[in-house]
Each structure stands twice: as structure tokens, then as C-alpha cells.
Symmetry: C2
């Protein structure tokens, strides 16, 4: 049975899901023994631990130039000492180009079958991926499992489905039959979806699989070979994905170099060399705005970026101020604000926030937010697991700088104890009060657990500032709280003009940071936070070209 | 009855047609009295003639800064002396921006109804448009009618249909209902297709409506206001389109500035000022590669270009050499090679071309081609009408230069008499023989009736050169003649990698120059001939951004 036939039902469901945009998940997000097996967690942990200090031998890429690896665990603050095969740029690109001419001739259906099969194989390694993610990114266990495992696999499946649909959008061939009066002019026409060529996918340190697999699978489904260039600090989680993709390719008698891992080190980065190589035609990137903007300007490449942004929260009126403060405190604390969708700028009117019980002042709201942040951090059953650890030491420097920003530091950052990892790098959120006139202090991304409470004249100014930040700095998310339908539509309309999705009035167990596969577009592509979106039609269409050939019909 | 309801059936047919890609035409291409009315031709001609030497008063754009007009008839070599209202860039853009916030809130269905209605109004003016096109572009009567009238209207309808489909691709809203074990998490989600903002459409001198209306209607259907910036030498045909769009907008109680005409003169071009204006977000362009490439690099704009290319003909083997020579002679002569899809480089193996009756040598084929060119030019019932007139004097200079290229001039260009227009600017095709080693002589576009017959080692070299030209210079079309299925697939595959559509073995009344709406993608977007394609999904999708908002479901 072909892999396409094996996975056809799931593929069809996924294609439907991207249109319906209701809840759909192919991979259960809960690390439940009843779903994944009684020993899956322990087995995954052991497999991760057994790999430490060794060569990563799972790849089918021959004759490495050297073996390198510089990953460190933010929980242990120790190197993992895993070594990955390293190749020079020319070798990677030439192998990809050779593989290209094989892969582009594989049918879209067969590609889909192979790629979904790889996700099924990875499913069996979700726990191993989770521990790999914890000890490279600093994510808490639950996020590491969900984001790098099932949620990433769902977003990969979404990209496969979106690509598969686009590849089948036009007929492979038709007879074009034009009445000319006394006779008909008949042409036999065919259309080919021609892949652009070698793709590279440049990963980030905080979400090494979730942010990379959409690009990997989108390029692969559309017939482009892919070189996966992970962040040197977060290789292992995505290396496992590449290993399984290569396994399925090899079993299908295809060149495993259709998907290669192309690691580098901080000392000798290969990213620019790869990106500028003339045979590289497709680039996916998650990371800083400067490098992303450089990539976007490269000639003759299809470039997909997720860069950085300043995410806003607009507070106008609320039903239950305590629930709002709790929700936002969690959004801020989750993975220590290291999500690209985490809120940073909180706009609060100087007159305060309307509630059914009267106005709550700026100061009182700030106090409630701080209480909730502290309550969460100091809850030993929640704090360490929600906050996780800080991936990059530079983020700690940024937190320190935020305290010297010149605002009123309402809450200083501190560390808490993680009972399992005594040496974990932990920083709780810092909260700084600013005035709307301090624009130079808040009009830039301060990545990490940094909250700026900005006192505005009124909601109108709050919205104007949130919109301005999105248009000038980019934004991936926006939270807004209002009970007034007119204000709500005003916010929805203004922020839509800044291409920023708004989560209104979230309380309870759902947060503005979270974007669900098959439903929420992640990044819109319409503001400086990035030019691409998981997974809108543009995300797959730009990876190939429709070319039509024709000839007189035989009949 | 709303205009949407009125035109719903046609819209549905058009949406189906872009998927089926079989023959579909909403506007009959033949200027038949039985279709368009007994007096339509005479009425259209009179209306055109009555407008000469006068102000073009049909637009609803108030308070022009001045009235300008520099059009000249290539048939009369005299100015038309039609004056158009002229506005400064800031006025055009600010009016467009104001109109934007009205137009973007009109539903996709209502926009479609309004836009299709405008095409129906223009249908009643096809003959006037035809004479306007003849006397600005130099096209022959039949091409002027077909290309600027029904074929342009069909491509406009295609863009409306493609946009309408994309705008309806995702649900306006859904309840996202996620099972969480003991409860369900329910979010009320909505998606908005947010238009990018003010669009400009920069026209060319040879196809002032056909090349511009896809961009105009694609931007309008997706909610963007449009400033139409025609080539100063070819304003009238598209001014009539803008007039009718404004009429329907005004009748629908909408701001006519949703679609403005923004003319300029050769002395003071406004194109760069418009393109670089920060409120201009969408740019459509047809014209030279240098300016097109400059536009493509502008920051923060969605840019759609059709630039120039070197179109190839690959001659490997033929069934009937006379029919092939006749077909290619017509392709070369049609509108004097001033179509962007006209062939330029003919690759012929030094060993000659295989036929069922043995090989025909390079020289014999050249002779047959020349005989057919001369036969067509000297046929008084065909020559003047097929050749039309030369739009731009510079094209005549280019023909003279081609004769001095250093190749063997097999046929010199000359003039012929047009009995209706004694003063018409006419040049028959020049045919120059080159060797494949003369690459510097043939690796650039020589716009106009210029054919280069290039002697190659064999078909493999022919294909390699055609591919190289397409990849380095761009190509919009390719003609190929072969009876060998393997050679055919080799050409189809190689040229598809250069994103160039191939017309195989065309003989009789169908030519490689012709691209049909709803079936042939015009330009692929995948080589330097342009980054856009009439009308693939990318052509409409990049004009708006999907933005999703969400909130807890009420229930």
C-alpha cells in the first residue's frame, strides 16, 4: 500500500480543516500514557539522556567535514555535548540540487504520503523531542511536549494539506475547445506546478520545531528539497524530525538529501552563505528583524519571515478585573515572555478601566497584575513549570536594562527555585510603568519577561499607539478588553489595518499567546513582524510556479 | 436589484472557468453587428472622432490642476489633441486614501457586482475603445477591437472572479470548539480580508487596456482604491474604462475616486512620485525591465510586474514545414512584433530540421520563413491589417540597429502601403542570421519586428539557449516544433524550470503570441520577464491580508 493511500483519509481531513477553521488536531496535545503508551515518557527521557555527550548518528548524510555541537541546557547551564555532522555550504547545496531533480518528479500525492508518514514516525518520539526541547530552549515540560510535538506536527500537517490543495488547484490537463464559427480550435493544454528549487529553513532558539516545520513541510510538499539550518543552540529537536523524514525517504527509495540538516556553530555561521547561494531559491526564517529584513531583500528568492514585534494589550473595560489580571499575568509569565506572541505593552487609560462595579484605577490594576504575577511565580506547583528557564543569557541583560529604562519599576525581576533543576536560569517578569509620552522607551521589542504598563489619555490613544507599534515595529498578537461593542469594532478595524489579530476579553484557560493550527493564522504577513503566515495560501503558492504548455489537440 | 444579484450568474460562471481552464469568454471577440448592433462600429468611430482635439470630460474627478494630453496616432503621425484632467500626486493619493475607507467596507459581493456592471457598460463602448486603441498603439483594427475590448474585459472578469473566490476562501466566522476533557473551550472567531491600501496601475503604450485591467480589477475587487497611470502615449482607451467604472461607482452612491485616472506627460512623469508615496501599497506595472525591477525593490509594497523577455522558438522536427513557416511568419508580423509574447530568437540546428520528407536545411527553412513574411506583407488584404503601425519611433531605430548587428541580414525591413492611412508608420520584419556563438548579439530583448535565426549545434543546444535566455533575460512565451515525444518532454521539462510556457507544434490559426483569459496564465512570474501572472491565485492574494480576531464564545 502506498503511503498516500495509507494517509489519504487524514490528508482529506486536514484539507477540510484548513477551510473550516474549526477545532482540528491530528496529534493529541496531552502527554497522556493512554494515548502515547505507559512507558513513552520514561523511554523518551532515557533516549534523550542516552544521546547526551555523543554523536547524533541518525542522519543519512554521508561524509561529514566535521562533527560540531554547542547546545547548552538552560536548566542545567551545562553543555549537552551532542555532536552533529557538519558539511560545507557547497556540499549541502549541491546534494540538495541533485535531490531536487528526483523529488520534483514525485507526485504531489506521493509526497504527501511520505511527509505524513514522517509525522507518524515523529509522533513515536514526541517525548524525546520534548526533553530535547526543554534542554535547548528552556521551555517547561508541558510546553516543550505540546509545542515541539503535537502542535508542531499539526502545523506541519497543515502546511502539507495547504500545499497539496494548491498543487491540485488546476487541472493537470484539459482540451481547450474554442468555437470559431465553421470549426472549433482545439488545444491540448497541461499545467505543471514547478517547484522553485533548493530551500533553506533557518530556525530559532526558542521554538526549534514549531517555527521551522511549517516551512520545511511547505517546501517539501511543493517539490523543493530543504536544508534545515537550526539555531546552533537548539539543534536536537529538529534533528529528530529530519532523521525521521530521511528514514521515510530512504524507505521510499528516494535520496535522503531531499531533506538535510545543515548545522553550524556560533563561531562560524553558514546562514548568509547558504541564503546567498545562487541555487537557493526558497528561504524560511524565524529570528531577529535585522537579519530577516536582509533576507527579504535578496534577489530572486521566495523569502518567508517571522521576525519580531511589539505586542500590545489594550485595556478599556472589563467584566471581572481579577480574571483579566490573572489571564494577563499568565500570558506574561508563560515561558518567561519568550514567545513571539507574548504581550509587552499594556495601554491603560489614566482615568482607569471601566468595570461593572465602577472604575478601577491604573494603579489598582497594576497592583492586581503584580499580585497575580507573584502569586503564579511563588506557587511551587505552577511557577517553575510555567516560567521555564531563560534560553539566552542576553535576555537576562535585557531584563536588567528594562529596570533602568527610566520608568517606574513596579515589580523587579527575580529568580525562583526550580526543585528539579537547582541551576536553572530563571527570571520572573519585570513590570515598568511608563507614560504614553515616553514613546522612545516602549517602541521597540524587549524580548523576554518584560511588561510595560503605559498610561494613556484614553482608549483612543491606546488603540492609536497599539496600531502605530504594529505598523512601525510589527506585531504578532494583540489583547483587548472592552465591553463596548462600538469600541470593540473600532479596535478590530484599526488593528486589522495594522494586520494584527486581536484576542478580545480572554479569561480563564486561553491566552493571547496561543495560536492553534488549522484555525489561527500565525503572523499575518501584513506588518513588519514578518512577511509570511502559517499557513495562508500565499505561504505555499510562492514556493512553486504554474507553467502551462499546449499543443494542437490530436483528435 | 443589487448589481451583485444582477451579475451573480456570470460571476459564478467565471469562478468555475478559472478552475476548469477550458474555453470561456463572456465578451464575444468578433466585432459582429449581430452581437454588438448594426450601428455599433460606425457609432464608436464617430464618438472617437468627435472626441479628437477636445477635453475628455467623462471623469468625475474634481478641480484638475491642468489639462494635458500628448497622444499621437501611429497611423496619422499626428497628435490627437485630446486633453485629460491632470492632478498632483498628493491630491490623487489623498483622494484615494479617503475613498479607501469607504471601498474597503463594501462587501466582496457588492464590489463584484459593481465591477462586472462596469464591464457591461464598457462593452457598449468596445468600438470606441477599438479606434482609440488603433490611434494610440498602432494596432490593426481587429486586434484593437479584440485585445482592448472583449479580451481585456474577459481578463478583467477573470481577475474579479479570482479575487472574489479568494475573499470567500475562509469563513467570515466560526465557533472554535476544543474539547478539554471536562469542558469545552469555545472561541468565537472571525476572519477579515484586509485590503493593503492605495493601488497604482502603470500602463504601457502597446496594450493600454489588456495589460492594465487585470491589475485595476484585481486591486478593486480586493478592496483597494486604484490610481490608473497610463502611458502618456496611450491614455484614451483606458480613460474610457475609468469613466465607466466611475459612472457605476457614482450610481452606487460611492466615491468615484475609488478609481482615478492619474495622467502625466513625457516632460513631467509622476510615476516614481506615485510609486514611492508612503500611502501607496500596491503597484501594477507593465513596461521595461529596468523600471520594473526598481519598482519590485520598493519597500513595503505589493508589486506586480510584467517586464520584458527574450522569447524563443525551438525548431527540431516538423510535419509540414510550409505550415510551420506560415505560422511563425504570422507570429512575427502580427502587430509588427510589438506583442510581449512575440518570438524573437529562432534556434535552428546546423544539420537542419527533420521532416517526414527528410531534412530541411537551415537556409531552406530561412527562405521559407522569409517567403511567408513577404507574402503576408505584400498581400494587400492582410499585410497592412496584420502589421498595423509602429507605436514608437524608437522601435524603428531598433530595427535599423538590428540590421547592423553584425549578423547576416537575410531580410531587410521595409515599409508597405496602408491604403487607409497613407502616413502610417510601418516596418515589416527584419530577419538576421546569427551563430549560437554570437550570444552577446541575441541575449537581449530587441522589441519590434526583429527575428534572429540562430544556428545551433543541435536541438540540445537550442533548448539550453532558450532556457538560458528565459532564466537570465526573462521569457513570456516559447514556441517549439518536434515530432519526438522524448524531445517534447525534454523541452517541456527544461522550459518549465525556466518558468516559460511552451506552445508545441502550432500551425493554422493559433499563434504562440496569444494567451486566452480563463485558461492561459499570462507571464508565469517565475523568471525575469515579470513577477506576476494573469491571473494566478498569487495575483489577487497579495493584495490583501487575512486577519483573524477571536473572543470567548457567548453561549
Amino acid at each position: 500500500m502506498s503511503l498516500y493511500i495509507k494517509h489519504k483519509e487524514l490528508l482529506t481531513k486536514a484539507v477540510n480543516a484548513i477551510h473550516e477553521r474549526t477545532f482540528f488536531a491530528a496529534y493529541p496535545e496531552h502527554p497522556s500514557p493512554s494515548v502515547y503508551g505507559e512507558t513513552a515518557d520514561a523511554d523518551g527521557r532515557k533516549k534523550f539522556q542516552d544521546g547526551l555527550g555523543k554523536k547524533f548518528e541518525g542522519l543519512k548524510q554521508e561524509s561529514p567535514a566535521s562533527w560540531v555541537g554547542v547546545e547548552e541546557s538552560p536548566y542545567l547551564q551545562e553543555p549537552l555535548n551532542i555532536q552533529y555532522p557538519q558539511f560545507d555550504t557547497e556540499t549541502l547545496v549541491q546534494r540538495a540540487e541533485t535531490a531536487f531533480h528526483q523529488w520534483r518528479k514525485v507526485s504531489a500525492a506521493d509526497r504527501a504520503g511520505i511527509l505524513i508518514e514522517s509525522l507518524e514516525r515523529i509522533k513515536a518520539r514526541f517525548f524525546e523531542v520534548a526533553y530535547a526541547t526543554m534542554h535547548t530552549t528552556g521551555q517547561g515540560y508541558m510546553m516543550a511536549f505540546q509545542a515541539s510535538g503535537p502542535h508542531a506536527a499539526d502545523r506541519a500537517l497543515e502546511a502539507i494539506a495547504a500545499g497539496y490543495e494548491e498543487l491540485n488547484r488546476f487541472p493537470a490537463g484539459v482540451i481547450w475547445d474554442k468555437p470559431m464559427g465553421k470549426y472549433n480550435l482545439k488545444l491540448d493544454k497541461e499545467w505543471r506546478a514547478v517547484p522553485k528549487g533548493v530551500g533553506i529553513v533557518i530556525g530559532c532558539s526558542t521554538f526549534p520545531t514549531w517555527n521551522s516545520v511549517p516551512g520545511i513541510y511547505a517546501s517539501l510538499i511543493t517539490g523543493n528539497p530543504v536544508i534545515v539550518k537550526p539555531h546552533p543552540g537548539a539543534v536536537l529537536p529538529i534533528a529528530i524530525f529530519v532523521e525521521e523524514i530521511q528514514n521515510v525517504l530512504a524507505e521510499s527509495n528516494l535520496d535522503p538529501n531531499i531533506c538535510q540538516l545543515g548545522v553550524d556553530t556560533f563561531e562560524k555561521m553558514n546562514t548568509k552563505e547558504l541564503a546567498e547561494h545562487k541555487l537557493v531559491k526558497v528561504i524560511d526564517f524565524t529570528g531577529n528583524s535585522k537579519f530577516g529584513s536582509y533576507l527579504e531583500k535578496l534577489d530572486g528568492k521566495s523569502v518567508f519571515t517571522e521576525k519580531t514585534g511589539v505586542n500590545s494589550v489594550i485595556l478599556d473595560s472589563v467584566d471581572d478585573v481579577d480574571k483579566v489580571a490573572a489571564n494577563l499575568a499568565f500570558s506574561l509569565s508563560l515561558y518567561s515572555g519568550q514567545m513571539c506572541t507574548a504581550p509587552q505593552n499594556f495601554y491603560i487609560p489614566e482615568e482607569g478601566i471601566d468595570t461593572p462595579n465602577g472604575r478601577i484605577s491604573f494603579e489598582d490594576f497594576a497592583e492586581k497584575l503584580i499580585e497575580n504575577i507573584n502569586g503564579l511565580a511563588d506557587n511551587p506547583k505552577a511557577g517553575p513549570f510555567v516560567l521555564g528557564a531563560i534560553q539566552n543569557k542576553l535576555t537576562c541583560d535585557r531584563i536588567a536594562e528594562a529596570e533602568k529604562l527610566g520608568g517606574n519599576v513596579l515589580l523587579a525581576s527575580r529568580s525562583i527555585e526550580n526543585p528539579m533543576f537547582k541551576n536553572a536560569r530563571i527570571s520572573t517578569p519585570v513590570v515598568v510603568q511608563l507614560s504614553s509620552s515616553d514613546k522612545s522607551k516602549y517602541n521597540t521589542e524587549l524580548f523576554g519577561p518584560i511588561a510595560l504598563l503605559i498610561k494613556t489619555k484614553d482608549t483612543k490613544e491606546s488603540v492609536a499607539l497599539a496600531k502605530e507599534m504594529a505598523l512601525s515595529q510589527g506585531a504578532l498578537s494583540c489583547g483587548a478588553y472592552t465591553n463596548d461593542p462600538d469600541v470593540k469594532e473600532f479596535i478590530a478595524d484599526e488593528m486589522s489595518l495594522a494586520a494584527t489579530p486581536v484576542s478580545f476579553n480572554l479569561i480563564g484557560g486561553i491566552y493571547m499567546n496561543q495560536n492553534a493550527g488549522f484555525s489561527d493564522f500565525h503572523v499575518t504577513g501584513g506588518n513588519p513582524a514578518g512577511n509570511a503566515s502559517f499557513t495562508n495560501p500565499e505561504y505555499v503558492i510562492k514556493r512553486f510556479t504554474w507553467v502551462g504548455h499546449r499543443e494542437p489537440a490530436k483528435s
